[in-house]
């Protein structure tokens, strides 16, 4: 089963959820309405809602109930992107202007907070306490992960475990929660819920590692932002970590910049070229593949055909953009 087949199979349900997202990003204030609409139309694969739908297949599939977690998950993701653009001072996302660039920082803050409130309101409509526990704890961990990432910004001495802990909180937990919530809302067996949560965690890790690889192999047009942005912003990801352990000159270049980012320039083209030449991209790919494999292995307790979940995991580990 291919990814396109999965999306085709769920086309109607995804379209329904898209409408619900639209409904739940509406506001009486015109600018808030435009800003919410702007981020919604910026697109994305709606991967979190898709994970909810796929996981719900292991219980009683009821779209009216599933929307109360699928939509909030996407709204939380969207709100975090809007705030991230203020954090990163980013003018573009996926090649389009960010809310902070099109309007201003404060509008972005209010729009993000507004979407977050819409998310919790919709989750409350489902009336399941467990949903709130999973969602709220995930959000708290995500925020702590982001704070941790800032703490580690421009810190050159980092280990693989620091990186893995960061990406777990930054990305993996929300995907894990998506899988778990789909199963919880559909009333799946506890062992299936556990398996899906674990699967989502591994897929999320693979997703972020792949994202971090793309930052060094993509073009500005493909990425929607300049290549190497992560490192320029002081975020040391696995490809950079791997490469700096093997190229002393590269380590010196990056260290010089990290020690004094206000005054030192980083020749990012040279840095990217050096990172690639160490085999860091291939090593990172191996790490992502390892997580894809773990994700697929986590599906063993599940009954029936797990091909769609396996396919999505494989796609995430090999996606080009």
């Amino acid at each position: 089963m291919k990814l396109t087949d999965i999306y085709r199979q769920y086309r109607r349900d995804i379209a329904f959820l898209e409408k619900e997202i639209e409904k739940n990003t509406s506001s009486e204030h015109p600018v808030l309405q435009q800003a919410s609409s702007h981020i919604r139309k910026a697109g994305g694969k709606r991967i979190r809602p898709v994970f909810v739908l796929l996981s719900a297949g292991y219980g009683e599939y009821d779209l009216d109930r599933l929307k109360n977690v699928a939509v909030p998950l996407e709204l939380i993701h969207m709100a975090s992107l809007v705030h991230d653009d203020v954090i990163d001072d980013a003018d573009k996302r996926r090649g389009k202007m960010t809310i902070k660039a099109k309007w201003d920082n404060r509008t972005a803050m209010y729009a993000g907070d507004y979407m977050f409130a819409k998310a919790t309101e919709m989750a409350a409509a489902g009336g399941q306490s467990e949903v709130h526990l999973i969602l709220s704890r995930t959000m708290r961990e995500m925020c702590l992960g982001e704070i941790e990432q800032l703490r580690d910004q421009f810190v050159i001495h980092q280990q693989l475990r620091d990186y893995l802990r960061r990406i777990k909180r930054k990305t993996a937990l929300l995907i894990s929660a998506s899988c778990e919530l789909g199963a919880v809302v559909s009333g799946a067996e506890p062992q299936y819920i556990r398996a899906l949560r674990q699967y989502g965690y591994y897929v999320g890790m693979a997703f972020q590692i792949t994202d971090d690889i793309l930052d060094f192999v993509g073009t500005e047009k493909e990425l929607g932002k300049p290549a190497g942005s992560d490192l320029v912003q002081g975020n040391v990801t696995y490809p950079a970590l791997y490469a700096m352990q093997r190229d002393e000159e590269l380590r010196k270049m990056v260290t010089g910049y990290m020690m004094n980012p206000d005054n030192e320039d980083l020749d990012i083209e040279e840095v990217i070229s050096r990172i690639r030449s160490t085999g860091a991209v291939e090593a990172s790919k191996e790490l992502a593949d390892l997580y894809v494999q773990k994700a697929q292995d986590a599906l063993h307790p599940l009954p029936g055909d797990t091909a769609p979940l396996k396919e999505i995991a494989a796609y995430i580990g090999s996606r080009k953009f």
């Binding site: 803050m109 977050f116 409130a117 309101e121 709220s136 702590l144 704070i147």
Partner: protein, 244 residues
């Protein structure tokens, strides 16, 4: 700032718990530790008495409201001026994240309280507050901005009162928060975007809040808690002292 509440022990618990929750060693290296608004704390605890809740539930519900208010207040601090050095950038970044973190804590506390009814109440209020802030931001005069300012400051207390069967208190509560602004007890960064900023006009409108409060309290009758009446008098004294 001072504020009284009949059950000092509960207020003390709430204050300690708030302090414990908002402190983050790394974040506080860059941004000041958030402080609780005692007026809001007192109003919340008072109106929550209208519902059958034990002390733990009252404290956790009021705490959640105070945390999400603080989260939104922190986000008001995000300005539009371009940052040019790493220290300022870090401060802005952590201001965004500190607000987000407190929002997640507010949600976690309500989720763990086992009484998720207030999630709907506060979610609606947070939406209303952000819409009010946007209306303020695009207001062209102070007269136009003031109703939205009152909403942004009082919405959580007003919604809480309504959910506890005390809707009649809403108008008086709204004026009380305006009076607090008049007394200078809260910073009004929200007014930054409103043009033109005519200080005298603003002072007049804020000062009138006391008389409106008295009128609204009279309208609500005997149901107005003594705490609200006391706070109105205290804040009036401060306003008079301030205007000299």
């Amino acid at each position: 700032m001072t504020a009284i509440y009949d059950n000092v022990h509960t207020l003390h618990r709430l204050t300690s718990e708030f302090r414990h929750r908002v402190t983050h060693p790394y974040v506080q290296r860059f941004i000041p530790e958030p402080v609780l608004n005692p007026l809001q704390a007192g109003v919340l605890l008072n109106v929550l008495e209208g519902k059958q809740l034990n002390e733990d539930q009252r404290v956790s519900t009021a705490l959640a409201a105070l945390l999400v208010q603080t989260a939104m207040d922190i986000h008001d601090e995000i300005g539009n001026i371009e940052v040019t050095n790493e220290a300022d950038r870090k401060q802005r970044q952590l201001t965004v994240l500190a607000g987000d973190y407190l929002s997640s804590l507010y949600y976690t506390i309500l989720a763990e309280s086992g009484d998720p009814d207030f999630i709907s109440v506060f979610s609606a209020s947070v939406q209303e507050i952000n819409e009010a802030k946007m209306r303020m931001k695009y207001s062209t005069s102070m007269r136009e901005a003031f109703p939205h300012y009152i909403t942004a400051r009082s919405s959580l207390a007003v919604h809480t009162a309504a959910s506890c069967g005390q809707s009649s208190l809403a108008p008086a509560i709204r004026q009380l928060f305006l009076l607090q602004a008049a007394a200078g007890e809260v910073t009004d960064v929200l007014f930054e975007d409103v043009q033109p900023l005519v200080a005298a006009q603003r002072e007049n409108m804020l000062s009138a809040a006391y008389f409106r409060f008295k009128s609204e309290a009279a309208e609500a009758g005997e149901s107005v808690p003594g705490f609200l009446m006391y706070e109105a008098e205290r804040l009036r004294t401060l306003v008079e002292h301030r205007s000299g």
